[in-house]
Symmetry: C2
């Protein structure tokens, strides 16, 4: 499918580029649609493109020696992944899996690297990006230290709420939310345990399922307090 400069403009990182560069980049890029469970980037491989997510949701996952899945982070629209090798030329460290049908713009690694060399602003943005990811992973790691399981789940749920909805602080909607399994591997829990926490949350009417594609959080304030450990389920 054809990639237009306007499409690239959707992504904060690329927005700052001169339109000539955008034009060129658009020509070299491809637009792909991935179904659920598809693998967007392979671990251990030197991938030759960076993936910009336009629509859907991705998850970075790793596997332990014994084949157990470990969830690392979620990728939301506007964000991208596979950028590590821009810096160190190393292989992609983790798998990137599609959680919800995803529309992805694949931008050649080399082109991006060239732009990066010519464009200090882009280096700055990419640096900020790595820093952000590092902060994110640090936070995610600290979640795992929490002894209270429900709190862990609530924190993760809270992370999935968009910033704008957090401000309003009323109710929120998470579109095509991760499955219990996908949340479980983020938090080092079993799928059943996550299900049981959700059962509890639903019984108190803190969250509600709107079909399979929407999770309605009816009491955002309560969820926050649960996440902060100010309340117990």
């Amino acid at each position: 499918m054809v990639v237009t400069p306007e499409l690239l403009n959707f992504f904060p990182l690329l927005k700052t580029l001169p339109s000539s560069s955008l034009m060129q980049l658009a020509q070299q890029s491809t637009l792909l649609k991935f179904a659920r469970r598809a693998v967007v980037l392979n671990a251990g491989v030197k991938e030759d493109h960076v993936c910009f997510l336009f629509e859907g949701r991705l998850q970075g996952v790793d596997f332990t020696v014994d084949g157990r899945e470990v969830g690392l982070y979620f990728v939301e629209p506007g964000d991208f992944c596979g950028e590590l090798s821009l810096f160190d030329y190393g292989p992609q460290p983790e798998y990137i899996i599609v959680l919800a049908t995803a529309v992805v713009v694949c931008v050649p690694l080399e082109s991006l690297r060239d732009l990066m060399l010519a464009n200090p602003l882009m280096v700055k943005q990419l640096g900020e990006r790595l820093a952000k990811r590092l902060r994110q992973m640090t936070y995610q790691r600290s979640l795992l230290g929490m002894p209270n399981i429900s709190q862990r789940v609530c924190c993760q749920l809270w992370l999935l709420v968009s910033e704008s909805e957090k401000v309003a602080m009323n109710s929120a909607i998470i579109k095509s939310p991760p499955t219990h399994m996908e949340i479980a591997i983020m938090l080092n829990l079993s799928r059943e345990t996550v299900t049981r926490v959700f059962q509890a949350l639903q019984s108190y009417d803190i969250v509600r399922r709107d079909g399979a594609t929407q999770l309605h959080i009816t009491q955002l304030q309560t969820l926050k307090e649960l996440a902060e450990g100010k309340k117990e389920l």
Copy 2:
């Protein structure tokens, strides 16, 4: 204490700088000695310097809401910490604690940032550095997914062995190793559990304590196999 350009030269990141810059940086930097348990960098604070470790060992730690310690990474001599805000001007995300009496060169953040702007090679190196830390954290996270506790401990131990000793593959020595507690928080385990794993390792004569300041790994090969899950304790 006085910082000489030669001292700065010890650090790979700074080695590439022109000697004039080094000279200047040296004048602005301070050399500090920290005792065990001292706090080198505070979480949540906009620290104004980057810490280069000359001697000793540091640990990045975070705390959960309920005051539980979470270990994030170790810092070994030659390495540095507190560099995130170079990129995003944000606060230091985690505490940096001294594990073994540390000699630290504190370099002003602003000076480093200036050098970074003037010096593409340094940007490159710092980018590689962030990338490396991300890979490290990804790996450390995957350790937590392992269901077998001894394996987890062995992996962590294996990480503490220096690269040069891994090549020789005979025996190795870890100088002033982290305490059981410090290892425990890295692996989401209780201190007692780590102690029990060490007991097992010692009973099979895989590791041995040489006083409190040295941990002798007598069977490096076995340790590796344990870490890889090819063997069980």
